[in-house]
Amino acid sequence: MTDISFKATKIKRKLRLGVFVWKKLTKNPKSKTAVISDLFPIRNDKNWSTEFELLNVPGLISGDNNQNKPSISAFHFFDHNGFELGVRNIEMHNRGRMTIKLKNFMAHDLIDAKTFAVFHASIDEDLEFYGSYLAERGYTGYEYNNLGVKGYVHGNLDAVALVNNKVKPLGNSGLLQRYYTVQHCLRGPAKYEFVFTNPTSKKVKIRPYIAFNPNRWERQKNFEISPLGLNVFNLEIEDGQKCYVKFRSGLYLARPVVFRISNNSMDVFHG
């Protein structure tokens, strides 16, 4: 590529950035002491279990996770409409890692929980933090069919903040519709599940498109997700079939967590 055409491409990209993503992907929380979390999907039924790898994040940031004081993290649970069902505080003491089995919470007021966020205690205000916010971006482990090994995936939406004890969405969306193509060719035989959470304060409508022929996209039935809610788009791909999928929405980044289930095993990754 010549220098001139490279510069022109860069300028065009910047102009498009200004049109399509004119705000930041996620907002800054309004309080300096806010803490951020992703919104992690829960899978809990006869085929699935979910665990979360809880670390002493404040300790890791300050350079010592062997501290005298226990580290307390608040797990906030939400149903598929984004309604907050309850909070459980988990105390971590004398250990570097604590694997939290989510099924132990799935009863009573939390029985319908579909997502959770993890907020750590804020860092000492005296610690120089360069305008950053403490964040939990996860590792959630999913086990399928009691296979004995979890598939891990990290959060990738930086969805919510805890500000003055209230959960606030941080994601941005707009009127302009944007496409996100999952960078994965769907190969059969497999069942695919695309799990979306809505990190914004507005209801969002997502329209899936699939293509068995690379240049012929077929429009699928759309679905809506409430703020902090969750929805799953399912696709069954037959043996020998290959398929692409893209999603149209007002979300700045409509990236799902993708589960691929095949041959009694599974793979999980973020889109």
Binding site: N65, Y130, A135, Q183, Y252
Partner: protein, 260 residues
């Protein structure tokens, strides 16, 4: 942008490419591209053209498709190119052909066996030749599973430089071991021999070679594989000057681990 094709003992690797940009506005390239595999012999980046791709197409490259000499270091990179490449290159190509930022233009890379496959959404921006790595590893699983740490490194320079990665227990800062890693390679480090407990959080530190670390879990039955990358310390925070926070976190840990 480069896409990894990785080989680890007992598993084959794959690199799935999809010639469709992740978004509809950032990079509207539709020209046919040549798909090259590039690998370092320590002196040059060698290149071999594998195929051509038109817009909208999909292709899969596996470690089984290639001469094993290409994967001597455990790693080759796949590169879509508009122009023809020489068979020997003194540096990785600098043209970013499949490139976007929101999100990054990625592929699906991973491993497979006779039962299953595991993948992650991959893209490789070459790392500086001289850099350090500090990361925490929460992926060790227990029971009928084999746990490995993978360290992937790619630099523009084809030299294969050796270095050490040190293992510690983050909780009591105790030293566990050190293992050789190399640039332009994928190093597989078995972890089960160290008997980490379920409450331990191992920390890995390399003073001279940066890399992308992964936890790879392999069910002893072979029927489930698990692959995820660890994060750099900057991922513990968001917004603001994350590089400065990362520098501060690394300094605090390195002082405690190495200068103990």
């Amino acid at each position: 942008m480069f896409f990894p094709l990785m080989k680890t003992p007992g598993l084959d690797g794959f690199c799935d490419l999809l010639y469709v940009a992740p978004n509809n506005w950032e990079n509207r390239i539709k020209k046919p591209v040549s798909i090259y595999v590039l690998w370092s012999d320590g002196h040059f980046w060698n290149s071999q053209k594998l195929s051509e791709m038109s817009y909208g197409e999909y292709t899969r490259v596996t470690t089984k498709d290639l001469d094993q000499v290409i994967l001597n270091s455990g790693l080759a990179v796949v590169y879509p190119s508009i122009s023809n490449l020489e068979s020997k290159l003194e540096s990785l190509p600098s043209d970013k052909v499949w490139f976007s930022e929101i999100p990054a233009w990625r592929n699906t890379s991973g491993f497979y066996n006779q039962f299953t496959q595991v993948s992650y959404q991959a893209d490789i921006e070459p790392l500086p030749t001289k850099a350090s790595l500090l990361t925490f590893h929460p992926f060790i699983q227990f029971g009928n599973v084999i746990n490995n740490l993978l360290v992937l490194n790619v630099t523009r320079d084809p030299a294969i430089q050796k270095g050490k990665i040190q293992l510690f227990n983050s909780y009591d800062k105790s030293y566990v071991n050190e293992v050789e890693i190399a640039t332009n390679s994928l190093t597989t480090i078995p972890l089960d021999c160290y008997n980490f407990k379920s409450t331990d959080l191992p920390v890995f530190y390399s003073p001279s070679i940066a890399g992308i670390p992964f936890g790879l879990g392999i069910a002893k039955s072979g029927k489930m594989l698990s692959l995820e990358h660890t994060h750099p310390p900057a991922s513990l925070v968001l917004h603001g000057d994350r590089r400065s926070v990362q520098g501060k976190i690394k300094k605090a840990w390195i002082e405690k681990l190495v200068k103990k």
